[in-house]
Amino acid sequence: MISQMSFGALVQNWVAATKGRNVPTGLSVEDAMSRARNVLGRLEQSGAEAGPVEAQTVDVLYAMCRCLERGTFALETLKVAYDLAASLQWPEDEFCERDQLLARLAYLAWNNCRLGPDCRAMRQWQSRCISSVTNQEIYRNFLAMTFATRSPSLNAQFLAEPPVLLTACSTLAKTCNTQPALAVHEAVLMYEWLTSQLNTSSVSEEIRYFAGDVAYYAAACFRHLGRFRAHDSWLDLAQAHFANTSYAEPLLARVKWCRLVALYDLHRSNEILGEIPSLTATFRRCGMEVDELKSIFLEASALKFVGRRSEALQRFEVVRSASATAADPLLLGMTVLALGELAGQFGEPERALGILQEALPYLQESGSPVGLGGMHSVTAEVLRNEGQLDAAAREYGKATEVYRAAGLSFQEAYMRVLRSDTLLASGRDDEAVEELAAALPVIAREGAMVDSVAALALLKESLRRKRADPRAIARLRESLASMRREI
């Protein structure tokens, strides 16, 4: 706090005290730039020297940022400049100048690593940049608003700042897993804004990178929502943008991984097993440790699907034991979930249920509805196989609620059909009918199923008579599984 006075009183006093006076403003831009060039030269030779921040020092730091943004400097110089700004003892910093400077310097280092490439260091600098941006209230408030609720001038003003743009894209990366139904709208609008900048921006290579990144997350959202044609189109866009960046290999590898995941979701695991080992090797060569683990996870999942369970188990254990996995609650949770499912398939239901409970806190921390819904669904399947139909129906109900809350309508409908089937098997016919009644409008809304017209008609008739037909439910269940291939 500067004073016990109200801020309005402070301003009034200041205005009165400085009326007609020239108030010193520190170093001129030219002086600051000259000193910055000297400091950069010394930093390159002897490293950062910490000390108290004077007003002139802040001007020199800003000037240093400007020099670094306008020139080409080694990562080591950027790192030393960052360390200098970070190590200085800042007094009251009501306007978050320290974080502004650190965000800009971290962004420069991130971009240097991106072009380097140094994927591992890129992640670290990205994290630092995001931390400094989100420390500032003005940017937190901006990022908390959806794209559509911000005015065009607000978007233009804030997203023109590269650290803010990087943070916005990173936010999208998280929300595409936690709230895909909302994130997809954000991604589409951000993509339109970015591509409108391509012809006017002097840094079109960076804009292409971000456009590709946003298109990639749009594709991921569509995949979560079960819209595979839209997923493919957006991934094509991502690939086209990434191909025109300075170092495309790691980005194109991510695109390939995303395509393989979609094939896995469409139950075409046999088509991907041959592709995954070379993709994993690419990630390893590029130093993309988390992507490498996700690639191994995908391979393990595909092996599990085709019945090669021992090989799948071995690969899941590799992912689970990696230190990078421990820092990623979604990857860890999904790996433990898969191990639980495997235990069930190996005929160890009690062990399976124990492992599935272990996965729950990680998946809750990740906030991923796909993960959480999947956990309840797998638990339900294990319970059902053990004849615990009521408990299975409860778990299917939890999965349904997770998908419904996240706007994942297709998954919601599928869970309702599975729950209906389970309720029918346990003699709870009325509840089975109720569940179907809730599922059918969603199924009808998601798309027509030519080969299930008869099943739908039979079910509607069953509902009219307040009776559920198990054969129709089974047929509908098969149709829903195959419907995903057509969306």
């Binding site: 801020f7 402070l10 301003v11 403003t25 400007r66 100048e97």
Partner: protein, 122 residues
């Protein structure tokens, strides 16, 4: 770029706060903690000279006398106003340069006497 004329504060705006004189340490603290950071923002974020940045920040303080809502976040408000004033000044400068090139007058075609539009509501 030449300094812009400082706007005289309207006498009625002074009455919004009963003025208790600030001590020298308080003035110094305000100078270092509010005035200079805003000047640096206008300078380094918006590419203005220190003189123009100083004028804009003082204009923002004058606006604050009549428009600042003390129940809100005054510093965030000042940042927003400084950003708007700086962008307005840049647009004016760009128009001036454009017209100068069009009419073959080189740098600058004289000061505009009109006040810049703030472009934001109360």
């Amino acid at each position: 770029m030449a300094s812009r004329a400082r706007r005289e504060q309207p006498p009625e705006a002074v009455a919004t706060h009963a003025r208790i004189p600030m001590s020298e340490p308080e003035l110094e603290a305000f100078y270092r903690g509010v005035f200079l950071p805003l000047v640096r923002r206008a300078t380094w974020k918006h590419g203005l000279s220190k003189e123009d940045a100083s004028d804009i920040v003082q204009d923002a303080f004058l606006l604050a006398l009549s428009k600042l809502d003390s129940a809100g976040n005054p510093k965030a408000w000042l940042v927003q106003v400084v950003d708007h004033l700086a962008l307005n000044l840049q647009r004016k400068s760009a128009r001036r340069t454009q017209l100068g090139h069009r009419w073959g007058l080189g740098d600058g075609i004289g000061e505009s006497s009109e006040d810049s539009e703030l472009g934001i509501g109360d």
